[in-house]
Each structure stands twice: as C-alpha cells, then as structure tokens.
Subunit: 141 residues, 4 copies
C-alpha cells in the first residue's frame, strides 16, 4: 500500500458516519475510489428505500477521497459543493459509489461519481454526482 492509499484509508477510518453506515472502502487507486455499504432499514426514507442523503454520503466520501488520492502529501480535502441526480430508487442489498477525478488543480479538484444498487450480483445505476473539492493545508493533530 503506497503512502497516498494509506493516508486515504486512515482518513476514511476516522469518518464516524462511514462506520455507522457500515461502509467499506473497496478500492483506492490514484484518482479513483470505490465505497460500498449494505442495506439497513435504519437509513431509509418513507418508502423503505435508502435515503438520498445516504447515497449522497457515500458519493461525497468517494469524491473527497478520489481527490485526496492525488492531492499533495501535505494536503487535506474539503467538500466545496456537489450536485447529485437521482436516477432510480435506492433499492438493493448493497450500494456502491465509484468516484473519479476529472481535473486535479492546485486548489480545486473536480470529481464525478456514480452510485449503483446491487441486487443478486447485478448493478443498476441509481445516482450520479459532480463535485468540487478543495485542497487545504493539513492540520497538525
């Protein structure tokens, strides 16, 4: 595991929300990240589907960590903004978010990400995100 992947995985492990959601970081490559979480009735909306905010959460973490995977060694990242389109109900046994860097700048990195519902091993596209992430100087901690 290289230094960037180590840094990404260490930061992910500190996200209380990802632990609470039971989310796992499946893969980290330079400029791309995959996060997966299982269905849980504790995270639903009124129809029993997974809440848009939960799908957004794994998409956002995936975008942030895709950006971090190519950021300078001394940087942390921060979500400036994102847009998400919801394409189909979040119905599935599990949900996967895959983010890629579209452009990495000195200050800002732009990522896109897709979310899929997994049913019986088959994936269906359910949401897509376009996100702006900012590099900031790492805080001593």
């Amino acid at each position: 595991m290289d230094a960037n992947e180590k840094k990404v995985r260490a930061s992910f492990a500190k996200q209380g929300l990802m632990t609470t959601l039971g989310a796992e970081m499946i893969s980290v490559q330079p400029g791309s990240v995959e996060i997966r979480c299982g269905f849980n009735a504790k995270f639903t909306q009124q129809n029993g589907f997974v809440h848009a905010g939960v799908i957004t959460s794994i998409l956002d973490s995936a975008c942030g960590y895709a950006a971090l995977s190519v950021a300078p060694a001394e940087s942390e990242v921060l979500s400036v903004e994102f847009k998400v389109n919801f394409l189909a109900p979040a119905v599935g046994e599990a949900f996967v978010a895959r983010a890629v860097v579209k452009r990495a700048g000195k200050t800002l990195t732009i990522c896109s990400a897709d979310a899929y519902a997994v049913n019986g091993g088959r994936e269906k596209l359910i949401a897509t995100m376009l996100a702006t992430i900012m590099n900031i100087a790492e805080k001593a901690s």
Copy 2:
C-alpha cells in the same frame, strides 16, 4: 393540524434515517419546513465535524417536505436532484435545515434551503441547497 401538515409529519415519521439521526420536524407551514438534529459523533467526517452527507440529508428531507406541503392531496414526492454548497464546517450542538418552495409546478417543485449550526443559541449559516422535487401519484399501501 391541517391535512397537509398531517401528511407531511406522517411521512417524516416513516423515514428511518431521520429517526436514526435523531432529527425532529420543528415546523411545517404551506411551502416551508424546518428540521433539526443534534450533534452525534456517530455521524462525523474525519475531523470530527458532522459529515456533509448528514447536513445534506436534513436539507433534502426539508426540501422534499416543503414541496409535499403544497403538493396535490393525492401526490407523493421524489428528489430528482439537488446541489449543495458547504459554507462553513458543521461544528455545533445542533443543526437546523430550513426549506422554502421557490416554485411549485404541476410536475416539478423547486426548493431552496439553508442549514445552520447552532452554538449557545446562536446560528451560523453552514450550507445552502437548491433542489428539484417531482410530484408522483401516491402508491396505495
């Protein structure tokens, strides 16, 4: 409590995620909704602030229910898409999302919403959303 408020509050009560977040629906008026949740370390990102996805979740529910509060009696609502800008870290004892309808159409309703961090009774603007919500025929259940 009028019929629309009753319908909004009943739907909110069925959102597993809102229960899990400890979120409360503070106010429902025709065309506006306020949702509040307390800080909880289970919902944080890597710096111990509340995760952007959680702030997005209460903003999204607020927008959806603001739209539902003015929708035809037989309609349900669905989030088509939203954009969120994060203006300051989500640091606070509690977080409030306030949504208003900007335009209610037959099929689509556009809402804007702001999120605030509450500290010692003072509010600070931390995020703002612009959302598109769709009216759909209510499912028999």
Copy 3:
C-alpha cells in the same frame, strides 16, 4: 437521416442563439449529440476568453438535443436545470460540446456533457455539465 435526427436538426436550426454563435450540429446519434462553434471576440468575458455563458449555451443545447434524440416522437424537450463546472479557461480556435444521455425516463432525461477547446487540432477539456431535461407534449405550430 432517420426521423429523430431530422427532428433534432430541424429544432436546432430554429435556435436563433446557435445561429448567432455560428454553432453547428456536428453529429446526432440516438442518445448523443455534438455541437461546435468557433472563437469570436463578440462572445468573450473580461480577459478575452469565451464567456462561461457561451460554453454553457452549447453544452445546454447538446444536452437538450441528446435527450430529444431518444424522446417519444410527439415530445419536445425543456431544460429543467443544469450544473456546470469550469475546468480551464475557454481559450481556443473552436469549442466542442458532446452530450450523452445517462438515463432516459418517461418524464425526465438526465444527460452529461463535456466541452473542449480546440487548438491546432488538439482538444482540451474545459467544462463539464450534468443536466435534467423534461419531455413535454409538442405544441402544434
């Protein structure tokens, strides 16, 4: 030229703005469209680059017509909303917008599109759009 391409090209020809910009529809396939326009000092911002609004205009038309290319025969399309990220200054001899349909629904179609600056035959990614388009019943005219 099939019926859908004919419909797309006929509608594009009626867009006064595309004529004014000198924009051409380079290609129409089911679910994808390419539009190109040359540099013109009449469409710049304060630094002499092409204005973000012009790049947005060809991205928006590309998304709308990608959606129309797969819409029911009796439908027109309408831009509900879009988001654009600007990745590099719009400096070039010409600009190309390429849109693809990510999901075509009965009422709403979601498209993504990228814009490129062309210099000496080489393309550089300068902007990316995520758009929501609505099918509406065609007006008799």
Copy 4:
C-alpha cells in the same frame, strides 16, 4: 463611485458577450449586482423564447461581479461552477438578473441569483442560480 464599483464596471465593459447581448449593469452595491438585457430574436431557442444559455450568461456575470464587489482590491474572479434551475419560459421584453453574495471567503465566494422576465413593468421569476466563484491574483495587463 467607489473603487470597487469602478473596478466592477470597468471589467463588465470588457465583456464582449455583455455588449453583444445589449446587457447593462443597472446597479452595483457591495455584495450585490443587477444586470439587465432586452429581448432579441438573435438569442432565442427553438420556440422563440430567450435561450437558457443567455439567461445563464447574465446570471453568471451578475454572480461574478457580486463576488468581485467584495473581493480584495488586487483580486480578479473566475467562475468555478454554477447550477441553474429554470422556473418559467424566458418570455418578456427584458430580463433582469440580481445576484447577492451568500458567503465571501478568502479563496471562494458563494453567490445566489434570480432572473426575472419583465413584461409591461411587471417581473416574473424565471430562473435561479447558485454559484461558486474563486478569487485569483489580478494579472498585470
């Protein structure tokens, strides 16, 4: 006219697109800007309404200049990204875009803006933008 307003108006005057659209800067206050342009058949879409890209152009310039009106003296501004919702067809004698700063940071400024169609002196809300603008060091020129 104070130094910031002078800087904003001088930059606006250099935007070839605004001249081409016949757009005027109606008002500049610290943190808010108003731009207006008349209807012109050269800037329409297929139904004879003003093209979404034109409404976006005046919204974008309004947001950029609202940000510039509160930026440090030595800064220029750049559009990072924006989202626009279209609420009603752009039908009118003239169109007005009004932008306000929601948060001005050292690097990034977030603005919201509304666009109105003007008919017989009455205004109708037709579009709304949420935009991220970046301060950059002014280029010597």
